[in-house]
Symmetry: C2
Subunit: 194 residues, 2 copies
């Protein structure tokens, strides 16, 4: 049920068309909740059916473009959802899983004393992939830090809304920093074993 709430949030920040939402889900909103244009169009239709948003009248010169705005009922639903109890989320950490898989492969392949071809090959390939991911997280961290510098340019935020948004950004910075650190350690562990 959460993509619809992500869309309500985005539309509350700024009324938009489906394609504009898609672009915003590739940038800011998408840093915490990604979605494709197919998902977005489907859920826009559902939100309109439920009476939570409505289409804004536009000059017909703009082709098929449809711009949506949040209705009071949509705003109320979003407010209700914000404080709803969250089930503990299903864990999905692909890199941790790969590391554990590598541990299982190197642990079980020592029967013949001739080394471990599968384990060695997997370790080399994983080291390359870890390095690639590390670079991606460093870039994302740099982008978040530049957002923070821009936001803090005119002093500490006073408004609650700004302080909340800054706290969201701090989550992004902290997570990217954590992964950059962990992947650096991880690279050392894998290379040390070669």
């Amino acid at each position: 049920m959460s993509l619809q709430h992500a869309i309500l949030t985005a539309l509350l920040e700024q009324p938009s068309s489906g394609l504009e939402l898609t672009r915003r889900f590739d940038r800011s909103i998408g840093f915490f909740w990604s979605a494709t244009h197919q998902q977005i169009y489907r859920d826009l239709a559902r939100l309109e059916q439920s009476g939570l948003i409505h289409e804004l009248p536009l000059p017909p010169a703009q082709g098929r473009r449809k711009e949506y705005e949040v209705l009071p009922a949509g705003r109320a639903e979003l407010a209700r959802w914000i404080g709803e109890e969250q089930p503990p989320r299903a864990a999905r950490e692909p890199m941790a899983l790969r590391m554990r898989a590598l541990a299982a492969v190197v642990a079980g392949g020592e029967g013949d004393g001739s080394g471990n071809g599968e384990g060695d090959g997997a370790a080399v390939a994983l080291a390359a992939e870890v390095a690639r991911q590390l670079e991606l997280h460093r870039q994302q961290l740099a982008e978040y830090r530049s957002f923070e510098a821009r936001d803090l340019a005119d002093g500490e935020p006073k408004e609650l809304a700004q302080r909340l948004q800054h706290q969201v950004l701090r989550a992004g910075i902290g997570l990217e920093q954590f992964w950059a650190d962990w992947l650096t350690e991880t690279l050392a562990v894998i290379k040390d074993g070669q």
Copy 2:
């Protein structure tokens, strides 16, 4: 395609039945890749069909229980997958999304000078939910730390497999520590706005 690789990893560590796998996915493996018993039985059947695992012969006294073991082809597939390139994962951070939603609701609801009923109510409810999540992350952090203490009881790990597993545990510890810190800050930001 990843649940099958998680199952291969679990079976490589220890041949098991579907129900035993389900229990392990509620504990250790599940910390990084969760799954229900329905998914596990379905993918066990697929893995057997693909010739990556096979059923071990068991005395018929054990009812319908079926124990599986990884075949060489399964081991090779797992080794191949370990170093495969990973698409950047779809972001899903429900708490960050809720914070951004709260920011949007409080920012837009100041038209009448009479406060902001929806925003205030949402903030109170979210503060309670943040506190609840904080407690869960603290508990998980304590559990991970006890695992680490137990693993380090007999000295620094020498084997590569053990060092890789320890590095996986460090990911869990680091993430839980990060979330505990961030949620603590977040609680202060929300309460400060009331």
